[in-house]
C-alpha cells in the first residue's frame, strides 16, 4: 500500500460558544468580541490517514464524533488548525439532503445533480442505485412516506454511487436491518479494494472490529488513541468496563471534570506565524476592497445627485458639455422645422410622438414659439389635432396645416383611437328646448347645407352672430347654425339645456372625452358628434368628420 496521505489534520479544534445571546452573536460578527463561555467540541486533533485505509472512529456519546465527521466532510469549518484533504468527501448520515416532497427517483437525480454529476453518468448509475436501495414500488412514492430504514438505504445507495474518494459514514447503518447491513459491508469492502478511504463512525465495537484497519478513539473532544484497531478497541473496552463499574456519583464527577476541561480552554494559543503572514496579506486586500468600494460609492452619489437635479438628464448633459442654454433659447426660431430642432435637441428633451390627439380644455391657444408669448390661433374643446412631438412639457401640434405649440396638460393622446359608440339622443330630449325637440330631425337634415338653403327652408330667423374666430352663425331662436368659411353649416348649437333633467353621471360615463373639470363632455356617436357644455348649457351637434 502506498503511503500517500489522504487526510491530514493538524491541531484542529472546533469551538462552540455557549448560551450566547443573539445580540452577542451580532456583536461578534462586527469583530467586537465579548468573553463568552465557550466549549471545545474538538481540541487539538492531529492525525494523518493514508490512501486506502479504513478508519473506525469510536467514542462515547457527546465525545465529538459527529463534529469530527462534519469537519471531515467539510460541512463545518474548524475554528482553528489546518486540514488537508486530497479528494472529494461524501458524508452519509441518515436521510441527509432528501427532499420529502419528491419521489425517491426524483431525489436520486436531484442529489446526483447536486454532487455535480454529468447527465449521462446520472442515467447510467440511476438503475444501480435503485437496485441497491431495493425499495420496490416505493421508489416512485414521495420520500415522506418512507420508513427511517428506507430513507437511510436510499441515502447510502446514492452516496455510495456518487463515487467519492473519501467516505464518511456516520451511524448511518445502525437503522438498516442485517441484510442491508451485509450489503453495505460488501459495498464498503469493494471500496476498500478500490483504494478508497473510509471513515466509519460508530459506537459499536463489533462493527468496527470486523471492518476497520485502524481506529481512533475520541474521548471528550480529544484524540485519546489512534492506531491498530485491536489495541485501541481493547483499551476502549477496558475503559467502558471501568466506567460502568464506577458508582453513580463517581461517574457524574468524572463527567463533570472532563466537561470543565473542555470549557476553560483559554490556554489554547493556536495562531501560528503563518497565520500572521496571512494577516498582512489580508490587510493589503482590505485596502484594495476599500478603494473599490469608495469608487463605487462615489459613482453612486454622483448618480443620485444627478437624479435630483432639475430637469433630469437635460441638465446632466449641460453639466457635462457646458452647454449654454440661454443662448440656445434666444436663437430659437418661431416655427421650428425639424432640421433646426435637431440642432437644439441638446437643450430640450424632444420626443417624437406622431399620434392623433384631442384638446381637452374649453378654449386653447396655440402659440407660434416655445416661450408661449406669441398666440397663433385658437382651438376648441375636442378639436382633433395631430401631435408631432413633445418638447419639454409642450406639444408641437398640427391642425388645418398650421403648426404651433400647446401645453401638454391640455391635450389628451389616446393610445387606442376613439371608437364611435351608440348614443341615443332621444334619452336627453326632455332636457332640450321644446322648439328644437318638436322638429329636431328637420333641423339635423340641414347640416352641411348652404346658408341660402337654410334661410330659405327654415322659418323664423332671428339674427346673425359672429364668434371671436370670425365664424358666422345664423340664429333661429334657441337654435343656431354654425357656418364655415364656405358658408356651409357645420354644426347646430342648441341653447338653454335644462340640466336638471339630464342624468349627468350617465352622460359622463358615456363620454368619449371630458374636460378636466368635467363641465364639457364630448361624445363620438355613430351618427353625430355631440358636445355638451354645462358651463353655457349648450349642446353642439355636428357631423362625424372622417
Amino acid at each position: 500500500m502506498c503511503a500517500r496521505p489522504k487526510v491530514t489534520f493538524n491541531n484542529v479544534s472546533k469551538k462552540y460558544t455557549l448560551q450566547q445571546k443573539k445580540f452577542d452573536k451580532i456583536l461578534e460578527l462586527f469583530g467586537i468580541k465579548k468573553n463568552s463561555k465557550s466549549f471545545y467540541a474538538l481540541k487539538n486533533i492531529s492525525f494523518t490517514v493514508n490512501e486506502g485505509e479504513t478508519i473506525g472512529v469510536i467514542g462515547i456519546n457527546g465525545s465529538g464524533k459527529s463534529t469530527l465527521s462534519n469537519i471531515l466532510a467539510q460541512v463545518v469549518p474548524p475554528t482553528s488548525g489546518e486540514i488537508e484533504i486530497n479528494g472529494e468527501t461524501s458524508l452519509i448520515a441518515i436521510a441527509v439532503g432528501l427532499n420529502n416532497n419528491l419521489t425517491g427517483l426524483e431525489n436520486i437525480e436531484l442529489k446526483c445533480l447536486m454532487h455535480g454529476i454529468k447527465k449521462e453518468e446520472i442515467k447510467r448509475i440511476t438503475p444501480l442505485i435503485i437496485e441497491f436501495a431495493d425499495l420496490g414500488d416505493f421508489i416512485n412514492q414521495p420520500v415522506k412516506t418512507y420508513s427511517s430504514g428506507m430513507k437511510s438505504r436510499l441515502g447510502f445507495a446514492i452516496s455510495a454511487h456518487t463515487n467519492p474518494d473519501i467516505m464518511v459514514i456516520d451511524e448511518a447503518l445502525s437503522v438498516g436491518d442485517q441484510t442491508f447491513y451485509q450489503k453495505c459491508l460488501d459495498k464498503m469492502n469493494e471500496f476498500k479494494k478500490e483504494g478508497k478511504t473510509i471513515f466509519y463512525v460508530s459506537h459499536s465495537v463489533s462493527q468496527i472490529r470486523s471492518f476497520c484497519d485502524k481506529t481512533m478513539w475520541i474521548h471528550y473532544g480529544e484524540l485519546k488513541k489512534f492506531g491498530n484497531t485491536k489495541e485501541v478497541l481493547n483499551e476502549y473496552s477496558n475503559f467502558i468496563k471501568y466506567f460502568n463499574e464506577l458508582s453513580e456519583e463517581e461517574k457524574a464527577a468524572y463527567k463533570k471534570e472532563k466537561m470543565s476541561e473542555r470549557q476553560i480552554g483559554k490556554d489554547l494559543k493556536i495562531q501560528s506565524r503563518r497565520a500572521q503572514g496571512k494577516k498582512v496579506k489580508k490587510n493589503k486586500l482590505n485596502k484594495k476592497f476599500m478603494l473599490e468600494l469608495l469608487v463605487l460609492l462615489t459613482f453612486f452619489f454622483i448618480s443620485t445627485f444627478l437624479m435630483f437635479l432639475d430637469g433630469g438628464h437635460a441638465k446632466g448633459i449641460q453639466l457635462l458639455k457646458k452647454f449654454d442654454i440661454s443662448k440656445a433659447e434666444s436663437e430659437m426660431i418661431n416655427v421650428p422645422e425639424k432640421r433646426e430642432l435637431s440642432n437644439k435637441e441638446k437643450s430640450f428633451k424632444v420626443e417624437e410622438i406622431n399620434r392623433a390627439g384631442y384638446i381637452i380644455s374649453e378654449k386653447e391657444s396655440v402659440f407660434k414659439s416655445l416661450d408661449l408669448d406669441n398666440p397663433f390661433f385658437k382651438l376648441n374643446f375636442a378639436d382633433k389635432i395631430y401631435v408631432n412631438r413633445k418638447i419639454n412639457d409642450l406639444y408641437e401640434i398640427t391642425s388645418d396645416n398650421k403648426t404651433g405649440f400647446v401645453k401638454q396638460e391640455n391635450v389628451s393622446i389616446p393610445v387606442i383611437p376613439y371608437e364611435q359608440q351608440d348614443f341615443d339622443l332621444t334619452r336627453y330630449l326632455e332636457a332640450l328646448p321644446e322648439s328644437f325637440v318638436t322638429s329636431y330631425h328637420y333641423y339635423l337634415a340641414f347640416l352641411n347645407s348652404e346658408e341660402e338653403e337654410i334661410e330659405d327652408k327654415i322659418r323664423g330667423k332671428t339674427g346673425e352672430e359672429f364668434d371671436e374666430n370670425g365664424n358666422k352663425y345664423i340664429v333661429f331662436g334657441k337654435v343656431k347654425y354654425k357656418l364655415n368659411s364656405d358658408l356651409l353649416s357645420v354644426g347646430i348649437v342648441v341653447n338653454d339645456l335644462d340640466l336638471q333633467k339630464i342624468n349627468l353621471d350617465r352622460l359622463i360615463e358615456n363620454a368619449t372625452l371630458t374636460s378636466k373639470d368635467k363641465k364639457i363632455i364630448y361624445i363620438l356617436a355613430n351618427d353625430y358628434e355631440y358636445i355638451f357644455n354645462l358651463n353655457f348649457n349648450t349642446l353642439t351637434i355636428s357631423e362625424v368628420k372622417k
Binding site: G97, N101, L113, M114, S303, M307, H313, E351
Partner: protein, 267 residues
C-alpha cells in the same frame, strides 16, 4: 471586483445545475396541492381581480391612465411585480432553508438564490406571453418597443441576483432581517408605480421614490409594453440603476465569500 467575478463565474459554470434544480423546485412546491401547477396562475389571477376591482373600479371609477385602460396599465406593472416580489423574498431565504441540504457536499452555495429566481422566472415568462396577448386584444401595439424587452429582462435578472445574494447572507446571519424584508416588500407594492400613477405627485416625491431601483424596472417594463419610451431616453436614471446594482452585487459578493463557510454555524 475579484469577488464579483468569482461569484458570476460560478453562476455561468453551473447554469445546467441551476435550471435542473429550478425545475425540481417548482415540482416539489406544488406536488402536495390538488390543483398542482395551476396555482401558479390561479393565485395571481385572483389578486389581479381584487386589485382591479378596488383600484380600477372602486377608486379610479374605471378611468384610464394616460389614455390606457386601467386594467392594462396595472397589468403591465403588476405582472413584473409578481415575479420580483417572491423572487426577492424567497431568494433571500434560500440560503437559510437549503444550506443544510447542500452543505453536506461540495456545492456552490451562491447558486441558491439563482435557483429561486429561475424557478420564478418560468412562471414570469408565461405571464408575459399572456400579458402581450391581452395588450394586443385591447388594440395596443407596442411595435418596435418590444425590442427592448431583453434589455429589461437582463436588468431584472442582474438586479434580483444582486439583491438576493446580499439579502440571503444577511438574513442567514441575522434572522430578523427576513421578517423586516417581508413587511418592506408589502410596502413596496404601494410605493412603486404598480397600482397607481405616481407622476401626478409633487416632483420631489417622485424623485425620492425613483431612487428605488425597482421603480426603474417597473416603469421601464411598462414603457416597453405600452410603447412609451426607450430605455436610453433617460440615461441618467439608467446609469443610476446600474451603478446601484453594481454596488449591491459588490457588497453582496464580498459578504457572501466572507460568510459562506460559516453558514452552517448559523442554522
Amino acid at each position: 471586483m475579484k469577488a464579483v467575478f468569482e461569484i458570476l463565474k460560478e453562476q455561468i459554470f453551473n447554469y445546467h445545475l441551476i435550471f435542473r434544480l429550478a425545475k425540481y423546485d417548482i415540482k416539489s412546491k406544488y406536488q402536495t396541492h390538488y390543483l398542482g401547477g395551476a396555482w401558479q396562475f390561479l393565485n395571481p389571477a385572483l389578486q389581479i381581480l381584487i386589485y382591479w376591482f378596488v383600484f380600477g373600479i372602486g377608486i379610479r371609477q374605471g378611468n384610464p391612465i394616460d389614455g390606457v385602460p386601467y386594467l392594462i396599465w396595472m397589468l403591465a406593472g403588476l405582472i413584473p411585480w409578481f415575479f420580483i416580489s417572491p423572487s426577492i423574498i424567497q431568494g433571500s431565504n434560500s440560503v437559510y432553508t437549503k444550506v443544510s441540504m447542500v452543505a453536506k457536499m461540495k456545492f456552490p452555495v451562491s447558486v441558491l438564490p439563482s435557483i429561486t429566481i429561475i424557478s420564478n422566472a418560468f412562471n414570469f415568462a408565461f405571464m408575459i406571453v399572456i400579458l402581450l396577448l391581452i395588450i394586443f386584444l385591447y388594440g395596443i401595439n407596442p411595435g418596435i418597443y418590444l425590442l427592448q424587452l431583453p434589455y429589461y429582462f437582463l436588468c431584472l435578472m442582474f438586479f434580483l441576483y444582486a439583491v438576493t445574494l446580499l439579502f440571503s447572507t444577511i438574513s442567514t446571519v441575522f434572522r430578523d432581517f427576513q421578517l423586516i424584508l417581508q413587511s418592506l416588500m408589502r410596502m413596496m407594492l404601494y410605493l412603486l408605480p404598480i397600482l397607481w400613477d405616481m407622476e401626478k405627485l409633487p416632483e420631489i416625491f417622485v424623485k425620492i421614490l425613483k431612487l428605488n431601483p425597482l421603480y426603474y424596472l417597473i416603469d421601464g417594463l411598462r414603457n416597453t409594453f405600452l410603447a412609451k419610451e426607450w430605455f436610453f431616453d433617460d440615461w441618467i436614471y439608467m446609469s443610476y440603476f446600474w451603478i446601484t446594482t453594481l454596488l449591491l452585487i459588490y457588497i453582496g459578493s464580498l459578504l457572501h465569500i466572507r460568510f459562506r463557510k460559516q453558514f452552517v454555524d448559523y442554522l
